[in-house]
Symmetry: C2
Subunit: 365 residues, 2 copies
């Protein structure tokens, strides 16, 4: 597992096939973000068969096939979309292109599984909603910072068991390492392509807040962005934060940033704090800072005491198998389409409504 850089964080976990060998085939299309490796791992571990890969860049295809030699290199996207054996297309396109690709996939009669962020504009959201309604196909999203983190999965289970009472608020911190700026693709620095920090890495946080609070909808109470320290990349937001108010009386706050220092043993000290009426949970997702470079630390405090639960190896990643079953059975176990669309909408709105943090003059007395 690559720890230095979140873009190449591709966890592997417990295998738990939900289909017979060859029963459910998928293809990978669009290899712009390293998350495609985590998405592929999750699908393979749940028993799916990887049939094809396609990207316009042959170098990306070659790299992918080194890891997954079973994937045949398709000559075109169309070759994959016209293959009736393919049930699901997994894709990590440039964020602004994810919706259009998804619509083409769904129009071809297949389900779609995109890297987060799901999309970058409200017009794209409307088009995706219409395409889902028209085709009956699903638009799944890889919200890896919850779905592919065992302590985050365990937190959801503990909350459902009522271990911290009624959830009141979620605070999330999603710091990320930028790394050498010139190793990033051009689109990473173009707002119209990557969508802005709140839309991009903020999407993980918004999805988590909706999930843990069980809010069906939320209002953006405040959202802010900044470019604090990257003047050479004026369209990069290196900082952002958002406060959300859920329709069920819950609330959420998160901060995302690109300031992970070089000395951190991992790409980001991602944290989640979930406050309930009868306890709270803290997640230290990718390391226990100053103590351990291993991830998946869950701290649970309730009326009985304090508990430290190392969650690695405990619960696996049930999302992938559930998603495959949802594709086959046309159920909504892994994640409802309404939840995904609401998260997508709030990411875009948070970014659209964001105030820019800037110094201001203190008024004279």
């Amino acid at each position: 597992m690559q720890k230095a850089d979140g873009m190449h964080y591709a966890p592997t976990g417990k295998a738990g096939a939900v289909v017979r060998p060859g029963e459910f085939s998928f293809a990978a299309v669009g290899l712009e973000h390293g998350h495609i490796y985590g998405m592929t791992n999750g699908l393979l571990e749940a028993g799916a068969a990887l049939k094809w890969v396609y990207d316009p860049d042959p170098a990306k295809v070659a790299d992918y096939r080194k890891k997954y030699p079973q994937a045949r290199a398709a000559e075109s996207e169309e070759q994959i979309l016209s293959d009736p054996a393919v049930k699901l297309v997994a894709a990590a396109a440039i964020p602004c292109d994810r919706a259009a690709l998804g619509i083409r996939v769904m129009e071809s009669g297949k389900d779609y599984f995109t890297d987060k962020t799901p999309l970058t504009t409200l017009a794209q959201l409307d088009a995706v909603k219409a395409a889902c309604a028209r085709t009956g196909r699903r638009y799944f999203v890889y919200f890896s910072e919850r779905l592919h983190v065992e302590c985050a999965v365990l937190a959801g289970q503990l909350i459902k068991e009522g271990r911290i009472g009624r959830v009141l608020q979620v605070i999330g911190m999603g710091p990320h390492r930028l790394g050498p700026p010139d190793k990033r693709p051009d689109w990473f620095y173009r707002r119209a392509q990557y969508g802005g920090i709140l839309c991009d890495i903020g999407s993980h946080q918004i999805e988590q807040i909706l999930y843990y609070t069980a809010a069906e909808d939320a209002k953006i109470v405040s959202s802010q962005i900044a470019n604090h320290n990257h003047p050479d990349y004026p369209e990069l937001d290196d900082f952002g934060d958002v406060t959300l108010a859920g329709n069920n009386g819950t609330s959420g706050y998160f901060r995302v940033d690109w300031f992970t220092p070089d000395g951190l043993s991992n790409w980001g000290d991602g944290r989640t704090f979930i406050l309930g009426t009868d306890g709270y949970i803290e997640l230290r997702k990718y390391l226990n800072v100053g103590v351990s470079t291993e991830g998946d630390h869950l701290f649970l405090v309730d009326h009985k005491g304090e508990q430290y639960i190392p969650a690695a190896g405990k619960v696996g990643f049930p999302f992938f198998g559930e998603m495959i079953r949802d594709c086959i059975d046309r159920t909504e176990t892994a994640m409802t389409q309404a939840h995904i669309f609401k998260a997508a909408e709030l990411c875009v709105r948070a970014q659209m409504e964001a105030k820019r943090i800037e110094p201001w003059e203190v008024p004279a007395k």
Copy 2:
């Protein structure tokens, strides 16, 4: 040290007398909040002499004198205010009465040291500012969650040394234990008296954000309060949060609440996260949850690596000695009056402008 209840948290620390014995006398007036014990400890350790104590409730005076027998019980506040030997009056009155008491103290020619929150209305703030200007006396505040916490003091020193570069943002969490609700005084549940959660325990957080970000002024971007789970006490805010934008382009967010679960080994898992351009600091102030019941844990990450610094016993509490010297030398080393007034103003404004968090109906599609 009482760990179960923040109201009775009264740390003791390294002694470091800044005056000769008997050179600087103070009195304690107003024993409504247990913080008066921490305030007294800090002053005594810095070499001040405790001459008098007064409270209208003889039981509170008797308790205080058990701990500090050197304090003579005054018959009235006036007896203390008219004693020219007393240079400073330390007080933990009911929050709404703190300003009026402070003005009487300053009018008597003495400096004033009040428990946080400094005051509860903008009218009180104006009156206090006028009294300071008229008398030349000082209005100090016991922001204990920074001034009387060694890891918080150390964080300030590390930031001044430039260890995390330029500070960009501070996140604070100030959970508190309510304890048996009927053990709290009546004023604790009356908004007009305690000032609301953002004004009361939020004042610690606002002061910290101003201090660590070095902002001279800040705007309230959003502020929220709730009574999530205490219907028997309708004027209690059991939850609140605030986002601040500093005039120097920094920002801050904090959450305060009364939901510390019974099982926590301390009254609250207070945290501070300070993000800089070149590193970050996390404080676990009163315990290391699931690991240690001892306090003062500082985690520093910079470009060189991750460091865990146990801060207990490292730096002491320089505030008290500096405050005494400020009183004698008429300097502003401990804390400027402008900083205190700005924190006070923002506490009151955050509370005044707070939106109430409540469930809402999701609009029909």
